[in-house]
Symmetry: none
DNA sequence: TATGAATGAGATTTCATTCAT
DNA sequence: GATGAATGAAATCTCATTCAT
């Protein structure tokens, strides 16, 4: 009918974001219908189009916001003057902590790349590349400092990221291991894998 | 119309498998229609139902066949009496070699779990668990033999698999590094990450 | 929000009329949405309902205003005491001149009759009939005066109107022929077609 | 569900054509929904897409088929060696007879030009131009033969066509005048309008 | 006088699936 | 073994309209 008493654009926008996130992470973008999202939000499907012109645009918004927030959070956390070993540890801990709290965003950013149109894909890939570069820079520094013993900087970065991000495939909060413990285990594995033993 | 001269069930079955694989890997199960598959195969959509009772069954068939073949291939390759270090190296090399040749199957087996019905999911999860157990056994052995220094057998197995399977996210045949070289780099990282330095 | 500083009802009403006219003429009533009109005017769709209770009413307003203005203009132009030949020429020149300046109104009045509700249709048809009757009266007079040689007054009127109104289907201002020249050509054709030669 | 016993593609295609024609002529292309057509035909809306890939394509098909049939019919009817006066009469009679039997096609071909996409429009315009050229050739011949007295060949052709096609706006079969009588009246008006008196 | 948020209905189109042939 | 014709349901998106603000 019309505008409901008490209805509020900002609140609806947030609700759409939240429920899209959950639904797309659980079922996949292609398997989630606008009706499902609308039902979750508590509006009619047509109302969604006040906030995103297409279903695609909704997906792009989710991915873009996530990656931009990730980058910004790392920029805040990182310290340029750190030795490579400490920088790597800091990166690993940051990555685990940030991602473990946002499993849906992380999952979507990785799984739904194929659902993007070419231009959208380029945009997201660029953001992802920027984040990967942060790790590559640390590894390159470690090599130059002679603190890391690795065969190939690029391969090492990819392998490290895969390992760290992989936590999300099995971690459930409240499980056998505390988050802190998991962080420690992974940090040790990562450091050993780049050939730097800590006693 | 009736059966076309020269039409052949076995060939059609294979073609369906091949094209489903490619299409589902590229676009995702939910985004692939039976018509798309039929077009790729060169038949009418109805013909697909001679080979798989539903679209779901087609997906299950693909995933099940892949995991069973993977397990069987590993059984053939593995040697029970090997020391853990060598067994881990053998496993890593096997995993890389096998998966790098079958990116579509691997991708689907990982990505489309959520597209399965509960019963189908249980079946596939059981196969996946069997494969993971092979790696866990090796790690457990290494711990008992005192050749590995790891904090947690389960976490180590998960992290190792994530690292190895992650190759598929960036590897393109004909790239900068030969497959052999990649194998070597990853084997070294894996061995170092479980705390066992070689030479 | 509330009324914008500088917003002005009269100006908005005029803008709605102008842009509706253009859009409906170009795309057809059914193909024009209230949103399209609102965008062209530069307001939100809801604002249109301050001026017309429904989309239908907007269309009726356009058609009615046009036909009433046409009739009034002819009343002003016509002179009852003229001989039929001169009256016919005057009518033809008037019709061409008036319509050639208002292609959108003419087009809509003819094309969108079917978009009207029965009652609206009756109202518009009555206005149109009044205008046709003006021509029929002239032709009847010419027959009585023996200055026209035609087989059927009604058919002649219909044919003449079709011919004259047809100009709008091909005329573009600034074309090969001046408006004056077109008028002359058509007047000659019309007069000849009712069998009255002028030397 | 599935193919119905006795269902037949050719018959359905014809039914779609017939009912689309009627509905679009009555309500206009934009105001006719695929569901309306499907209901008239007696199938589900989806079934229409076995015959035309889009609603647009259905419209184009109707217009193109009509204009091609019109041209072909005229080619069959025309005789190149006729004097211009007789050729014009023959054209006028053909046009009236052909169009009076197909009011829906004629109406759509004229009214729905604006519903076409640019490429479709070009295609239809070209066919329409070919038909107009047939009349223009006759008029040009009459001018060269000195049997017509007209000011401008193009304008005369346009005016003549408008007059003739205009019959469809008021003619209803079974009305006051027989079709033969209407033909005669219009032929006389047309001939007089090009300045050629017949006694 | 106008906006901003929403509705409920309906538009075109696609889909998995069926089954007579 | 495969086609050709169709279904019934659902998808994305648009629309006229409403009404609190």
């Amino acid at each position: 009918m019309a505008r409901l008493a008490g209805s509020n654009g900002k609140a609806t926008a947030k609700a759409i974001h939240k429920h899209s996130l959950e639904l797309i992470a659980r079922h996949g973008f292609a398997a989630v219908s606008m009706r499902m999202i609308a039902d979750a939000v508590g509006v009619q499907p047509g109302a969604l189009y006040q906030y995103h012109p297409t279903k695609q645009a909704l997906l792009l918004d989710i991915m873009q916001k996530h990656l931009e927030a990730l980058l910004q959070a790392w920029v805040k956390e990182s310290q340029t003057e750190l030795p490579a070993i400490e920088a790597l540890e800091r990166f690993a801990r940051f990555h685990i902590r940030y991602n473990i709290k946002r499993p849906d965003e992380v999952f979507i950013a990785y799984m739904e790349l194929r659902s993007l149109e070419p231009d959208e894909f380029k945009l997201i890939e660029e953001l992802r590349r920027q984040y990967e570069d942060e790790l590559k820079k640390i590894i390159a520094k470690g090599i130059k400092e002679n603190s890391f013993k690795v065969e190939d900087a690029h391969v090492t970065a990819m392998a490290t990221l895969a390992m760290l991000t992989g936590i999300n495939t099995w971690y459930r909060s409240g499980g056998r291991l505390s988050q802190k413990k998991i962080e420690d285990i992974y940090v040790n594995m990562v450091l050993r894998s780049v050939g730097c033993e800590r006693e």
